[in-house]
């Protein structure tokens, strides 16, 4: 009986670890191939160890130009959609009002729309009203689908918040603005930062919606797509590895800080 139970417990554990390994496998390949010196143009199989790509990231100017375009778009998208999305989230969680169901439906619909349709419908709009495609149309398109993700993440944080804290502040004669400034906002902040991180990574990585509305602008994913046929240079792997390791580090630092804070407060 004990052994059967042990096996059952361990199976679940081993299975979970295998799923994590499965999710990580392509990342390992990306990082490994960033140290590769490809034989031909295609960097798909191991040839020879080299640090060339790491020491010479911007040898091909177009890679770094595409990268900086994506960073610029990503930052703007993050700021705008985090503000707009957080506002919706506060309305949905902190208030009961007529049209609340419609609001959440309208927020959910972009999440449930395939990216080709989002991209195609915006392209149809821009073509019909003769707006030239480029930097700004990419920005508009990306904000449209990141808002909903921001709402989902901030909602999760706000829903877990104890409403008694706000009531206590009000009871102690805090104005609504003070309550928001000193109680609600600090509690919601980790959720808002997580939402910002998510919208940046969604924007930075977006290919489908962007490619419909990009015109001649080349973002980092669009560069990769174009290079995929000719062979992706290892420098692209270097940038992807840096982005991946950087965001892991960011999450790690953030969780350490919040753990420290909790420890010192208690």
């Amino acid at each position: 009986m004990f052994i059967i139970k042990l096996i059952r417990e361990k199976t679940l554990q081993v299975f979970s670890v295998l799923i994590i390994v499965y999710l990580m496998l392509p990342l390992a390949v990306i990082i490994l191939l960033s140290f590769n010196k490809p034989k031909g143009r295609q960097n798909t199989s191991w040839n020879e160890f080299s640090l060339d790509a790491w020491t010479n990231i911007c040898r091909d100017q177009t890679i770094c130009r595409a990268f900086s375009t994506s960073i610029q778009i990503g930052l703007l998208v993050t700021i705008i959609s985090t503000i707009i999305g957080t506002m919706i989230s506060f309305a949905l969680i902190r208030h009961r009002y007529r049209g609340r169901g419609t609001t959440s439906l309208l927020v959910f619909l972009p999440l449930a729309t395939p990216e080709v349709i989002l991209g195609a419908s915006l392209l149809a709009l821009f073509l019909n009203i003769f707006i030239p495609l480029g930097f700004w149309t990419i920005l508009l398109a990306q904000i449209t689908f990141t808002i909903s993700f921001v709402v989902v993440v901030v909602n999760a944080r706000l829903a877990g918040m104890d409403p008694k804290l706000e009531q206590a502040a009000m009871d102690l004669y805090a104005t609504p603005l003070q309550t928001f400034r000193y109680i609600t906002f600090p509690i919601a902040l980790p959720g808002i930062l997580a939402a910002a991180l998510l919208s940046f990574s969604l924007s930075f990585d977006d290919f489908i919606v962007t490619t419909f509305n990009s015109g001649r602008i080349v973002t980092f994913p669009i560069y990769i797509w174009g290079a995929a046929l000719r062979g992706i240079p290892p420098q692209v792997n270097v940038i992807a590895s840096l982005m991946f390791l950087g965001s892991l580090l960011l999450i790690l630092v953030a969780s350490l800080i919040s753990k420290n804070r909790r420890a010192t407060k208690v």
Binding site: L27, I88, G101, L105, L109, A120, S121, N128, L198, M243
Partner: protein
């Protein structure tokens, strides 16, 4: 929130609280109307247009050409069907893979829970295109996976790349986190004491699962399925990078009609039909679960 608590907040400042939510949603709702709802209606209008000349450069004229729909569907129904088939299979596999790990995180993982969550979201931080491309290396003819499976004669075509198997595998990989996260959220809400209580009442483990855990996790199953199936059915990157010409899905058709061929009415008709099918699915979901659990 109970009625008593709510009246404490709303009573003294009823007037201002009534206006606040509308001010809060105004920018977002305005944005979504302008750049989501309005474009969809433009898409519909475009789907009925007729060409002004012979080449797409001549532009298109407003019309009510319903035959755009019938001719597009007659020509592209195999890709439509394939899109839904591949993403359907991938969704089922995702559910089978995601449920155990979501269950483990919700009830067993304890202090490793957050680490596991980070690792599940981590792939999002490296390029989607590069990850899909990395599967080319993993599944290539001289790689371990193909060699291993071939030594047991498990592959009918002796390869994985450029087959429908690779497309389904790529979709499964790319959308698995979208299944795990909602499942985990709904499993984590289950009070473990309910399961203990069932055990105390002599219900065997399998019954404890099917009578207690599974019914309570249904909202997670439904939203995970939607969040996996819908983006997967419209994806064209996996079919393009991992599949052969015979594996093209509806996303590939819409993309090439729009961007390469610039036959906007046909592309719009296909997109709008696709959107209509998805709206029906969402409607069925809402009828079952309501709008509260949507986001």
């Amino acid at each position: 929130m109970s009625i008593a608590q709510e009246s404490i907040i709303t009573k003294p400042t009823r007037r201002r609280i009534k206006r606040t939510p509308y001010l809060l949603i105004l920018p977002g709702i305005g944005w979504l109307f302008l750049f989501f709802i309005f474009p969809l209606s433009t898409l519909f209008a475009t789907s009925l247009q007729k060409p002004a000349g012979i080449s797409p450069d001549d532009g298109f004229l407003p019309a009510f050409k319903v035959s755009n729909y019938s001719s597009a569907l007659v020509e592209y129904y195999p890709q439509f069907f394939r899109g839904f088939l591949y993403s359907g299979i991938a969704t089922v596999i995702c559910l089978l893979l995601a449920y155990p790990i979501a269950y483990y995180m919700a009830f067993r993982a304890r202090k490793y829970r957050n680490l596991m969550l980070v690792l599940i979201v981590a792939p999002f931080f490296a390029s989607f295109l590069l990850r899909t491309n990395a599967w080319k290396t993993i599944l290539s003819g001289d790689g371990i996976v193909v060699g291993f499976l071939n030594s047991f004669n498990l592959l009918p075509q002796d390869r994985i790349l450029n087959t429908s198997l690779a497309v389904v595998a790529g979709l499964t990989y790319n959308f698995l986190p979208f299944m795990i996260l909602p499942l985990y959220t709904s499993l984590e809400k289950i009070d473990p004491r309910l399961i203990e209580a069932a055990g105390d009442l002599y219900s065997p483990p399998s019954q404890r699962f099917w009578k207690v855990v599974w019914p309570l996790s249904i909202p997670g199953v439904i939203s995970g399925t939607l969040l996996t199936f819908i983006p997967a059915s419209g994806d064209y990157i996996n079919a393009e990078l991992l599949g052969s010409i015979k594996d093209k899905m509806i996303g590939n058709v819409i993309q090439s009609q729009f961007i390469d061929l610039r036959d906007y009415p046909t592309a719009s008709a296909l997109s709008f039909t696709f959107m209509a099918i998805i709206l029906v699915m969402i409607y069925l979901y809402i009828r079952r679960a309501g709008t509260d659990d949507l986001v």
